[in-house]
């Protein structure tokens, strides 16, 4: 239960847990592929994947054009947010940190608020002349908003220590949030409704053409974090300690923040602000593997994030019901108890965070 962080590197127990996790991710993905507007059998899924000519055209399109991109999006987004959350918790040595502490989330929402609340009422002309509309514009706006706040925080991160950076991020969030609420204050209710719809989050908007940008961005973000597994372990013991064992802390901090921002910014851009996965998945991984070793924790968090994300999406699509539910409400409903249970069971939280 209270194994020391350094002891449980690659025990057989550990690898069997990994196998179980991978199995769980695949079974929930398969379940997701089978459930939805109409229940389909795994055999039908197989037919669609093998391009069998016997399959009805509508069913084939539902599987290939709707469910498959959605499952892939959910898995990637969950992995990305969870990893970004883990990075933030380690860098700030704060169990409450999440992917959005540096204001990426509010930056993205400002971008979207400008599009929905400010530009859209002025007219469709804007989108027509740029030859893309609605969804694409929202993706671009929220990614741009996230990128802009990211630039600010990254440039600050080179000048101040890590605690000041946390506060800078919080202040930035508040300030941007204030601008968003001013925009909301002057908007019509229909527009506010659209903006709120965006803030509910969804995995259903990423089509294959979006995937060409979405998946590579996330894979790049994840690969950067994998390069820093060892220095991150040192960072967890404090920047002074890390420096004393030869870690170039500023460089590590910069690149981990960069990767976390790419991950969280991409997901927020394409899917909206998805809360709770970023906090819940790292805590659940620590609880499952009893370790703070990043060599185990990073892959574990990726898998747990994908698992939680796929489950939340499955519930949000309301199988059996004739409606869909807001994804963000479901991630909170699943995420909050996970965090609470993990915290109660794992009383040595303080030790994990030095």
């Amino acid at each position: 239960m209270s194994a020391h962080p350094q002891q449980s590197t690659t025990t057989p127990k550990c690898s069997s847990r990994f196998i179980l996790l991978v199995l769980a991710v695949f079974s929930i993905a398969l379940l997701s592929a089978c459930l939805g507007s109409t229940p389909l059998s795994p055999a039908v899924i197989l037919q669609a994947l093998t391009a069998s000519p016997e399959l009805d055209d509508v069913l084939r399109q539902i599987i290939l054009e709707f469910r498959l991109p959605r499952i892939l999006t959910a898995a990637l987004a969950g992995a990305a947010l969870a990893t970004a959350g883990l990075m933030m918790q380690t860098i700030f040595r704060n169990p409450l940190a999440d992917p959005f502490v540096l204001g990426i989330n509010s930056g993205a929402s400002l971008g979207v608020a400008i599009v929905i609340l400010l530009l859209a009422p002025i007219g469709i002309n804007l989108t027509e002349s740029l030859s893309f509309s609605g969804q694409t514009l929202i993706v671009i706006a929220s990614s741009a908003g996230a990128a802009a706040t990211l630039m600010v925080t990254l440039s600050v991160s080179r000048k101040v220590d890590v605690m000041s950076l946390l506060i800078v991020g919080l202040m930035l969030s508040y300030a941007i949030g204030a601008v968003v609420s001013i925009l909301m204050f002057f908007s019509m209710s229909e527009r506010l409704q659209s903006f709120m719809n965006w803030s509910f989050g969804t995995y259903g908007n990423v089509t294959w053409s979006h995937m060409l940008v979405f998946a590579p961005s996330i894979l790049v973000g994840l690969s950067i974090t994998l390069l820093f597994m060892k220095p991150l372990d040192a960072m967890l013991l404090g920047e002074h300690y890390a420096e004393s064992v030869g870690t170039r802390t500023k460089q590590v901090r910069f690149f981990t923040l960069l990767s976390a921002s790419i991950l969280a910014g991409t997901v927020t851009g394409f899917c909206g602000p998805i809360g709770f996965l970023g906090i819940a998945a790292p805590h659940l991984s620590r609880y499952l593997f009893h370790t703070s070793n990043h060599r185990i924790l990073i892959p574990a968090t990726i898998l747990v994030g994908a698992l939680l994300s796929l489950s939340a999406d499955l519930v949000a699509r309301g199988p059996g019901l004739n409606i869909s539910l807001p994804l963000n409400a479901i991630t909170a409903l699943i995420g909050a108890p996970v965090i609470i249970i993990a915290l109660i069971k794992q009383r040595n939280m303080k030790r994990l965070f030095g």
Binding site: G36, S37, T38, D57, V58, Q61, I62, E65, F66, R67, R70, P121, I122, G123, I124, N125, T127, E128, S131, F132, S133, G134, Q135, T136, I138, M184, F185, F186, S187, M188, S189, L192, S194, N197, W198, F200, G201, T202, G204, N205, T207, W208, S209, G272, R317, N322, I323, S324
Partner: protein, 377 residues
């Protein structure tokens, strides 16, 4: 303090009850009958008229009472919570574009002094008067500017309620003592019922006879068109709308949209559903049901098939899109000037119906030219 008010209102209620029981034979002459509208009632008394509005939003079960007392007459004893409006009104502010259609149809645009959503107004006369300053712009929703409204000194503010209390400006208007009246026309389930609210608006201007006449003509035309479309043997399937931020709100089976489509001789794919408002669905669910539908209508602000497919190439998998049977009510949509279908179209469901019949059964409407709809290219 409280018991006194309660006692007071009980007394008033009893007085009105007594009055009501004495009056029926007197009021019969100019009572306003509503044939379709279900959320409004107008009673006529010797000293005033009483309008009762119910169902103002999806979550509301309150009754709102409005006493229309002619100018120059003394105010009669009225039950508490009755908003008094002095009629005929001459200085009107509208908080939603839908009222413009009614006021225009009754030829009362002269009385309009304030509007809340200038960017959504299609009516050119009003746009011009906003530019010349004859009509002021007031803020709606959470950012309501009460002081500006008070300075305008309107004798009537027409508004509708939102089920979201955060977005609802109505309570704030009432608190500030402004003569504000709620409408529930958008909650009606029959297109003619929405048009019939013309009689409600007319009561404030004392132009009941005109409203009666206009509405009777509209009804006659609508019924004639519906009768013509009812003989069709093949009803094409149809679905509506586009998804926004991941959610596709399709009109419920009991909504006025569903009713209009039925009257136009189309088979609306969600007509079996029993909700009045929109049903939130995800794209996949709509695709599963509507992949083979013949027609696709009401695509929000999309003006071309290209912009539609650019947004999400999966739109191209609908049969209606492949066969080009995509029609939007965007013919009179102006980029910063609203859409006439939400102004004139509300009061003239016969025109909307004629457009729809031309879409679904062109052979029945050879002479008709589209007023609100256009085929997306």
């Amino acid at each position: 303090m409280l018991p006194a008010t309660i006692k007071d209102s009980i007394f008033h209620a009893l007085a009105v009850l007594l009055l009501c029981s004495l009056l029926p034979h007197l009021q019969a002459a100019d009572a306003v009958e509503f044939d379709y509208a279900q959320n409004v009632q107008i009673e006529t008394f010797a000293t005033h008229r009483l309008i009762t509005v119910i169902n103002v939003s999806r979550t509301s079960d309150d009754r709102f009472a409005y006493a229309l007392v002619p100018k120059g007459q003394s105010i009669p004893d009225l039950p508490a919570n009755t908003m008094i409006i002095r009629t005929p009104v001459e200085r009107v502010v509208v908080m939603a574009t839908t009222f413009i259609g009614y006021i225009d149809a009754l030829a009362q645009l002269e009385s309009l002094i304030g509007v809340a959503t200038p960017d959504f107004i299609n009516n050119q006369t009003i746009q011009q008067r906003i530019r010349s300053g004859q009509i002021q712009t007031v803020q709606a929703g959470p950012g309501l500017d009460i002081e500006h409204l008070l300075l305008l000194d309107p004798d009537l503010i027409l508004t509708s309620s939102s089920s979201d209390p955060q977005l609802d400006g109505h309570p704030q208007l009432v608190r500030s003592g402004l003569p504000v009246v709620l409408s529930a026309s958008y909650m009606e389930q029959h297109p003619l019922a929405r048009a019939e609210w013309l009689k409600f608006v007319a009561a404030f201007f004392h132009v009941d006879a005109q409203a009666e006449q206009i509405f009777n003509e509209i009804t006659e035309r609508y019924q004639k068109l519906a009768a013509r479309a009812s003989v069709v043997t093949e009803k094409p399937t149809v679905f509506c709308g586009t998804p926004y931020a991941g959610t596709w709100h399709v009109p419920g089976g009991q909504s006025y949209v569903a009713k209009t489509l039925d009257d136009a001789g189309a088979n609306y794919l969600w007509s079996k559903d029993d909700s009045r408002g929109g049903i939130p669905l995800d794209f996949e669910r709509v695709f599963f049901t509507a992949a083979h539908a013949h027609f696709w209508i009401n695509l929000d602000s999309y003006k071309s098939l290209d912009s539609l497919f650019e947004t999400d190439h999966r739109f191209n998998h609908f049969r209606a899109a492949q066969t080009g049977h995509v029609y939007n009510n965007s013919k009179q949509f102006k980029s910063n000037g609203g859409n006439a279908i939400w102004e004139r179209g509300i009061v003239h469901p016969d025109e909307v119906l004629a457009d729809l019949i031309k879409i679904f059964h062109p052979e029945l409407a050879k002479d008709h030219r589209f007023i609100y709809y256009e085929q997306l290219q």
